[in-house]
Symmetry: C2
Subunit: 246 residues, 2 copies
DNA sequence: CGTGCATTTGATTCGTGTCAATGCCCGTGG
DNA sequence: CCACGGGCATTGACACGAATCAAATGCACG
């Protein structure tokens, strides 16, 4: 419990030093923890954006429906992530979001975001920085898809999740659980389910990773990184010091 | 001049109502306008992120270098855009940026961003909202690339630029200037230069658009929109009213 | 301990990449 | 003002990665 709680705080603390007042405000981000079951829809495209959520435990994903009813997976969230920080500045949700596993979320009304911006510039900056980090991850993924073939895309995905989990203190060295189907991964990577399966097997034969039904293990981080042109720098780049002298 | 100045203000005003104090602070965003020539590098990957820029006139783009020295185009900027709002929350630049045309930029030191967050929550929110909008555009582009073929990608690109220019008051009905090469467009879309050329010609034969060397004209907006599953809603979605009651 | 969904495997087709050559526009310098 | 040159755009031929269709296998969950 305390571990999960620290996920979010830790996530934001990466960006900024917090004083007591900030910590109190931040704590509000995590009051009202709620248990949610797998498949729970957190919000829906087009609806009013009236809440954001911190994900204390469990995984979730964002998607949009295409006219045939299927879901185009757009983003994936792990414990510690702040969900909806993008959507909530708009009047209407741009995506839908859905839990991938059972988990604990902390809903946080939009008005309180407003309150935080008025009350703690530092915390506001922290949230803004968290949003910028998410944007960077997405940009990274865009570049991945724009310039890499299936093998490299998979390597990239494997490493992105690896570092994101590592960052929140999860044990990833012996592989990490991946509560999402290959179909969903294939949508995130812009390749077909079938081709994903084949190519992952190929990577396994090459000794770069090991996969089981719901787990993924990084075996050769160097070759994976090289294949995907992946450098973890940006996952560790801290908040601009020029913004920290409050 | 006044027109260009209004671009940025207008851009942010879309997000938020400003009082005198805010307008004064915002004006600081646009003091110190500087003429820059085509090909000027605004910042470089890895360098300290010490400035952001508002683009008063001219076009620019963001890129990363891949090891063979070529540039992977990552983003494109039009007049009125705020550049580096993503990068500046990090200590180091994640991308490089370069002018596509001659233009006027207004450099804005990071510390002043800090100052704005401390001074005007409303303006801080406006900047955050502008960042969220950029993220949404990128997300949109990611989905485009993940789920559409070459034809749809081109349609999507055509419309994205169309609406972005329209939003800042440019005349786009008779086509708009596009100061970027097909090679660069092809990188933004994740297809080869050759295939882009072919497919654009196809779209032209279908009567959806007209292209000349440096201009692009939307001929059949409905069919383009349908092809790319593009809805402009999100370009017009305003700031969440729940964030406006200062 | 089946039953349905997820994954794997095989065969074939299609879109797109690559290589190479040509043509065209435009800026440059004479 | 015109001729030249070099990048940019177009076109053709071919190869290959990845999509699709279809069927079989294997897990996981009730």
């Amino acid at each position: 419990m305390d571990h999960y709680k620290s996920c979010v705080t830790q996530n934001l603390s990466h960006h900024i030093d917090l004083n007591d007042e900030d910590v109190r405000l931040l704590a509000e981000l995590e009051e009202d923890p709620t248990n949610v079951k797998k498949h729970t829809e957190l919000w829906e495209t087009g609806r009013a954006a009236e809440k954001l959520y911190t994900l204390r435990s469990g995984w979730a994903f964002a998607f949009r429906r295409n006219e045939d009813g299927s879901r185009q997976v757009m983003d994936i969230y792990v414990p510690g992530d702040v969900l909806g920080i993008r959507d909530v500045t708009f009047e209407h949700h741009y995506t839908s979001a859905c839990m991938l596993t059972d988990g604990i979320i902390c809903p946080f009304p939009t008005e309180r975001l407003h309150y935080i911006f008025g009350r703690s510039p530092k915390l506001a900056m922290g949230l803004h920085a968290a949003a910028a980090r998410q944007q960077m991850i997405i940009m990274d993924r865009l570049v991945n898809v724009l310039s890499h073939d299936a093998k490299a895309r998979i390597a990239h995905f494997t490493l992105e999740i690896y570092y994101r989990l590592k960052r929140i203190g999860a044990d990833v060295e012996n592989g990490y659980g991946l509560p999402i189907t290959q179909k969903q991964i294939s949508m995130l990577l812009g390749i077909s389910e079938v081709h994903l399966s084949r190519t992952m097997s190929e990577l396994e034969e090459m000794g770069l990773l090991r996969k089981t039904r719901k787990k993924l293990q990084v075996l050769d981080i160097d070759r994976l990184s090289e294949l995907a042109r992946f450098t973890p720098d940006r996952f560790n780049d801290e908040l601009n010091p020029l913004l920290q002298t409050w």
